[in-house]
Symmetry: D2
Subunit: 428 residues, 4 copies
C-alpha cells in the first residue's frame, strides 16, 4: 500500500480522511444494505459462487478482527471462537474454514447475532483508532475498508442472484423513477488514442491493491475506444442477427459453455409476449434499449465484439484512455441500483466509470516485479492470477470512491452474475 | 380408503374422532414444531432429499387447499396464486412446480406469511367441517391429516440434517434427561413364528394408505424375529470387526456406495478422542450402547445382518409377527426425539413400534390387485413403487397413532438421514 | 449345483453330456463368434456396462484357469501372470483387477494372444477331463460351461452396442433373408392360469444357478398371461399415443431417466423420413411391426403395460405359466441374430422362450433359504441381489439349451442394450 | 502465411524445398510412426483429450482432401463420403462431425483402410503438385504439411498416454541405449537479457502459423533466463520439500486441481520401493535426475518456480532470448523419444529447443492486429485463444524443423500428458 497512510490519514476515494470517520462511514454503509431484508434473505446461498448476505457482513468483520484487533489491540478477546472457522474466506495461512459451497447452511448464528458481532468489533476498532495507531496498522485498516467496500458490491450482486431464483421475483428496493433520456439507441463515437509507451498501474502514493502495482511502462499501438458502453438495444440486434447461434462468432470454450448452459440472452433477461424484461434489484423491469447491457459473460462480450467487427480493449488501452478522466458516474451512491441510459458525455466518454464493469481482453496477470502483501494477506489477490479476465471501471453497485483508473477487477470469463458489460475498441 | 369414514368420524390412530377436532389437533401439532426456530432455520434446504421446515408447513396446507377447499368449499378463494407453483410436491396432474432441489431458494414468502396461510386455510377448513361434509370429502380430509403427520416426521428429520451441517451443531431442544436402564448391551431373544398362509395388508375398514391394500394372503416359511432392534453397542462390535472394510459382507451396490461416500459409521456419528458422539435433535450426545442404532442405510443394515449370520426380515414376516401387538412405543409424543435404550418387552417384543424405522428385505412393490387413488391423488404412492425398500414400525419422530402393523414406509436403500435402524431375523 | 453331475456327465441344455465334448463344444462356439471381427473390433469398450469382445473371450478362459486348473490340475502353470489382474471380473476374494470402465484400454494382449490363451487352457482342460475328474470338479466345469454361454450372449450384445456407436453402422453378419409371415400385427390371446400354491425354482437335479434355488412354494392369485410378446407395431401405437410424453404412465424414477436420456423410442431405433429403422447385428434394418419389440428398459415396459391397461407378470407367474412348456424358440443357434415375427404358437404360447428377454415385475431377490456357492464363487450372483429386475425366457442371442423355465436373468431397470422386451399379464 | 511460398518452393524447417518432395517426406514420416502398432493400438482413445493413432492418420489426410484436393484438384472424387463426418476435427464451417470424446468408437474403418485412404490422397496430391500449382494452393499445402507435423507429435503423445493406461506397460520402441553424461544434477547458469523494445513474432517471410503474426514490438524489462530446463533431480527436491502439499506455493485453481486429481509427482511417475520410475515410449524407465522433468502441468511448473524463488518467463522473454539461437536439439528425429540429460550448452543455452515444451507465464492471446486465416481455416488457431498458456521450444517428439523461435504452442494449464517441462526466469 506504499505510502498511502500519511499524517494519520487513510485514503478512501482518493481523499485523505480521518481514519475513525472513514471506518465508521464504511461500516454504516454496509449495515444499511440489510435494511428490509429478513433473517432468511440474509442466510440463503443461491449458488457456489455467491455468498449469503449475512456471511458478507460477518466476513468483513472477521477481517478486522483477525488482521487488526487480534495482532494489534492489546487485550482484545475474540467475539466467538467458532467465527474464525465460519467466516474465513480463503486464507489458508489463517486456518481451516467452512467450505465455500456450504456457507448457506449457517442458519445460526442469526443475522441479529452477526450484527452484534459487528457492533462489538466496531467498538474495539474505534478504541484502537482513537489511540495513536502506527502507520502499519493504519495501512491494514485502510485495506480493511476497501475490502469491506468490495463486499458491499458482492452483497448486492449475490442478493440479486438469490431473488432472481425466487418465482416471486421479490424487489430489494421499489421500482425506479423513470430516467428521462433520448429514446432509442444513439450511435457511439470513437475516441482515438495515439500509440507509444504509457505508464500504467498505481503509483506509490495513495491506496491501491497489490495487484495494481508496480506502476510500469507498456507499449501500446494506436487505437480507438468507443465513447460509451454497448447498449441493450445493440444487444437485441446481436440476438436478432443470430449472435447466440453462430459458432463462428465465439471462442471455442465460450461456444461450448453457451450450449451447455443454454444462453440465449443476458443472464436475467426473460421474454414475455413480445417484450424483454430483466430482473433487477428493483424487481422485474422492462429492458431499456438505451441503457448499457449488463450481466453478460466475457464470452458473450467477445462474441458481440466480433459480430460488430470490433474487439475488446486490453486493460492497458482502457487505463490509458481513462487516465486523467474524473472518476464519476452511476455508482451505488446514486441509489439507482441498475445501469441507466447514458445522458451526458464527459471529456468524450460516457459511463467510463460506474453503470457496468467492462470486460477487457486481458488475462489477470501479475505486473512485472509484482510482490504480494506479506503474511496471510499475501493470499488477497496473487493466488487468483489465473484463468480470469480483467474488468475495469466499476458498476452501479460499486461504492463511489472505491475505484480508480488503475483498478483491476477480475472474474472467470463464463461468469454472468456480476454487473458486467462491455465497451468496444478498434485498431486505428 | 375404503369405509374408514363412518358416522361423520375420521380415523386417526385407529380411533374414530370428530373430524374438526382431529383436524385442529394435527394442525396445532405441526405449528408447535417450529417453536424456537428462526425464519432462516425454516428456510434453508440442506440437500436435495430434504425440504425446508417452512416448505413442509406450506405444502401440507396447499394439500388441503388444493384437494379439499378448491373442489369442495364453495366460494373459497386461493390464498396466493403463486403458492400452487411453490408448494406442489410432485403431482404432475396438478401442474408445474418449483424444482425440488431449489426449494431452499424461497426466502419469500416468510415463515410468518406461511403461518398466515395456515391460519387462513384452517379457518376455511373448519367452516367446511362444520357443514355436513360428505363421506367423500371426509375421506380426503382424513388423508390430509395423515399426510400432515408424515410431514411432521419429515420436518424434524430434515431439520436434524440441517443442524448437523452447521459447525455450531445447534440443538433443536435441550439435552435429554438421562434414561435409567441396564448398563451395557443385553442379548436379544428370538420370537418364533410358524409358517403357513398369512393375511397381510390393511382390511377395508379404518384408514390406511392405498399402498397397504388390498389385504391378501401370503405364504410364509417358519422364521424367528429378534425381540429387539440392533443396538449401538452391537454396531460398534460390527465396526471393530471390520464391518465397513469387508466387501464380502456387502451387496455390490452397497459397497460401491460405501466407498464413494466414505461410510465408516452411522450418518451422524463422529469420533472424539476415544469416544463416539452422535448429532441429535438434542445436540451432540454420547452414543448410548444400549439404544437402538439409528441413521443407517439399508445397505449397512444388510451388511450387518450378514456379519451377524442372520438376515433382515421380509415386510410380511415383520407384519405377521407384529399383528395383534399393541402399537405403543417411543414416538414423537414421548418428547424424547431420539431412540432410547429398550426397557421393557411387550408380548415378547421390545420397540417393535417407535424408536427407529426397521429396514426390511422387501422391495416396495404394489400388492396384488393394487389400485391407486383416483385422480391427482393417484400419484401419492404408486409412482414411487420402484427402487425402494420397505420400512416398518415408526420412529421416535413419528406421531403416535400414525403407524399400524400394516404401515409401509419406503426409502431408497442408500438413504441414511431418516431415523432408520434394523431388527434381525433368521430361518427356523 | 446339487446333483447335476452324475455318472461323469454334465448337464447342458437339460441333457447329460460327455464333459469333454460339452466343454469343447461351448468353447468352439465362443471362438466362432469372432469370425470376421478385427483386433480393433475385439478391443474397444463402448460404455461402462459393456465389455470388449476380447475381454469376454479371455475372462471365460480365466474362469476355467482360476477356478479349475489352478486348484485341480496338478502342475498347471499360469499362462500369463498379468491375466489374473486383467481378466477378473468382480471376484473380490480372488484379488485386484482392472477397473471395469477401463477394460477397453487393453490394446495388448492382442486378440491373437487371447486366442493362444484359450488354446493353452483348452489343452489343459481336456487333459484334466480325460483323467477321472471328481464330481466336485465336474460340477465346477459345468458351471464354467454355463458361465461361458452367458458371456457368448453378452459378447454379441456388447458388440451390437459398439457397432451402433459407429456412424458407418457396420453389420456383424449379412442382411437377413426375409421371414415370411402374416402382415401387420395380430392380436394377442390370453392364457388363463388358476391361482393357488405353485412350486417355483430349480429342483435339486440337473444344472441351475444358485439364484434359482431352492425350489419352494409360492402363493399365486389367478391371472392371465398374453400368448405372445408385445410387438413393434404395438409399440409404435404407444409412441403415437404419447407414451413417451405422458408422465402419468411412468414410474417416477423411470420418467426422470426418460427425460434425462431423451428416450423417444427403443434404444436402436432411428427415424428416416417416414420410416423407423433399427440397428441390428445385421446392420440397419426396417422395424418389422410383426416382430417383438426389443431393447426397451423395464421403465418403458412398465409404462407400456400401464398404457395398455395391463401389467407385467411377476417372475413366478411367468414361471408357473412356462412350466412344462418346451424350451424352444429363436435362440442364437437359429442364426437370425434378431427377434423375428412370431409364426406359430406352441401349447398356446408364442416365443415364450427366445427372441427377447421378458421383463417381469419382480425384484431380483434371494429365494427363501438361499445359500450362495462356497468360496470365491459365492460372489457369482448373491451380491447383485439389489436394484435389479428379473427377466425370463432368453433371447435371440442366447445359446439354445442355456435357459430353463426357472432361469433368472437380471438387469437394472434403466438398461436398454440387452435384448429385452415384454409380455403382458392381467388379473383374472 | 505471407510470402513464404516463393518460386514454387515451400518452407519446412526454415528451408525452401521442392513441394512434392516435402509433401512425400512428411507423409512417409507419419506412416512410419505406426510400424509395430496393431489395429487395436491405432483405434483406442484413452481419454477425451487424446485421439486414436488411426484418427490422426486419417484426419491429416482429410485436411489435404478437404482444403486442397476438393477445391483445387479438378475431377477429384472423395474417397469415402463418410470420412468427412468421421475425421473433421473442429471446423464448424466444414460441417458436422463425430464428437471428439467418441473418436475411439471407430473400429471401422480399419487401420488398413485408413492407410489406403492415405495412399489414394497422396496419389492425387502428387498429381496436383506436378501440375503448376498456384502460390495460393502451395500455401495451403505448406500449411497442411506443418499441420501433419503437429499431428505426428500428438500421435506419439496420445499413444504414450494409451500405453500408460495398460497394466502391461507396453513399450512402443525398445529400451534406450544409456546416454553417457555427468552424474547428478548440475547447477543452472543464468543468461542476462537487457530490457527495451524487442520485436517478436514471425516476419512476413517464410512459413508461420497465423497466431505468430504479425511481428510487432514489445517492451521488456531486463531479466535473466536459466541456461537449462529444470531437471528431474530438482523436481525430486521440490517433492521432498513438500511441494505438493503446500498450498501457499500454488495458484488457487492449481491447488484445487492438484487435490482433486491427487497429484504427487509428474504424470507418468510411479514409486517402486525406494526408486522413482516413469512410463515412456520406451517402456518403464528409471527417472534420470539429470534429464529435464517432463509431463508436468502449468500449475505444477508455476508452483515449482515459486518454491525456487524464481518465476516462469513470459513468452516474449523466451522468444527474445532464443532469437538468433540455432533451432537444434533433441527432436523426434534423434530417435530418443524421451528427454535426455543435457550434455552441452550452445551459445549459453542447453536444450532451449527440443526435449520438453517449456511453459511460459503468457496467456495464449492474439497479437495486436491479428487476423485469422480466411474461410474455414480461420478456425485453425483463433478460436482457441482463451484459457491456455503458451509453450515454447518443442520437445523430443516434435519433428525437427517444425518449430521456430516464434513458434507458439498452447495447452490448458492443467494438462500433463504433453511433453511439457519448464525453464526458470528472474528479474534482473
Amino acid at each position: 500500500m506504499g505510502i498511502s497512510v500519511q499524517h494519520q490519514r487513510v485514503a478512501v476515494g482518493g481523499i485523505q480522511q480521518d481514519p475513525a470517520q472513514a471506518y465508521a462511514s464504511v461500516r454504516t454503509a454496509s449495515r444499511s444494505l440489510v435494511d428490509g431484508l429478513s433473517d432468511a434473505d440474509a442466510t440463503v446461498q443461491s449458488m457456489d459462487d455467491a455468498s449469503p448476505v449475512k456471511w458478507h457482513l460477518a466476513h468483513t468483520t472477521w477481517f478486522f478482527e483477525t488482521f487488526i484487533l487480534l495482532p494489534f489491540a492489546a487485550g482484545y478477546e475474540v467475539f466467538d471462537e467458532h467465527f474464525g472457522f465460519l467466516f474465513n474466506s480463503y486464507y489458508d495461512a489463517v486456518g481451516d474454514r467452512q467450505p465455500r459451497p456450504r456457507r448457506g447452511m449457517l442458519t445460526r448464528p442469526s443475522l441479529t447475532r452477526v450484527l452484534d458481532y459487528r457492533d462489538r468489533v466496531d467498538e474495539a476498532m474505534q478504541l484502537l483508532l482513537r489511540s495513536a495507531a502506527s502507520p502499519a496498522v493504519l495501512e491494514r485498516i485502510e485495506l480493511g475498508i476497501h475490502h469491506e467496500q468490495q463486499h458491499q458490491e458482492l452483497l448486492l450482486t449475490d442478493l440479486l442472484h438469490l431473488f432472481a431464483q425466487n418465482p416471486l421475483l421479490p424487489a430489494y428496493r421499489p421500482a425506479p423513477v423513470p430516467v428521462p433520456g433520448p429514446p432509442g439507441v444513439a450511435g457511439a463515437g470513437w475516441h482515438a488514442v495515439p500509440g507509444g509507451i504509457a505508464e500504467v498501474g498505481a503509483g506509490s502514493e495513495g491506496f491501491a491493491f497489490d495487484s495494481e502495482r508496480p506502476r510500469h511502462p507498456v507499449l501500446l499501438q494506436p487505437f480507438r475506444l468507443a465513447t460509451r458502453p454497448v447498449l441493450n438495444g445493440e444487444w437485441l440486434a446481436f440476438m436478432q442477427d443470430g449472435g447466440y447461434t453462430s459458432p463462428a462468432l465465439w471462442l471455442a470454450d465460450g461456444w461450448d459453455r453457451a450450449l451447455e448452459e443454454g444462453w440465449t440472452a443476458p443472464l436475467y433477461w426473460r421474454a414475455r409476449d413480445t417484450e424483454w424484461l430483466t430482473m433487477t434489484l428493483r424487481g422485474l423491469q422492462s429492458v431499456d434499449p438505451g441503457a448499457p447491457v449488463c450481466h453478460v459473460s466475457y464470452f458473450e462480450a467477445d462474441a458481440f465484439a466480433r459480430w460488430a467487427g470490433k474487439r475488446l480493449p486490453t486493460e492497458f488501452e482502457w487505463e490509458r484512455a481513462a487516465a486523467n478522466h474524473p472518476v464519476a458516474g452511476n455508482f451505488v451512491d446514486s441509489g439507482r441500483l441498475m445501469p441507466v441510459r447514458p445522458l451526458a458525455a464527459d471529456a468524450g466518454f460516457v459511463a467510463l466509470f460506474g453503470d457496468v464493469w467492462e470486460w477487457t481482453a486481458s488475462d489477470f496477470a501479475p505486473y512485472p516485479r509484482f510482490r504480494p502483501l506479506a503474511g496471510g494477506l499475501g493470499e488477497y489477490n496473487g493466488k487468483f492470477m489465473h484463468g480470469q479476465r480483467v474488468l475495469r471501471g466499476g458498476s452501479c453497485v460499486t461504492p463511489a470512491g472505491h475505484v480508480r483508473a488503475s483498478y483491476r477487477n477480475f472474474f472467470q470469463p463464463e461468469k454472468r452474475w456480476q454487473f458486467t458489460g462491455l465497451r468496444l475498441a478498434e485498431d486505428s
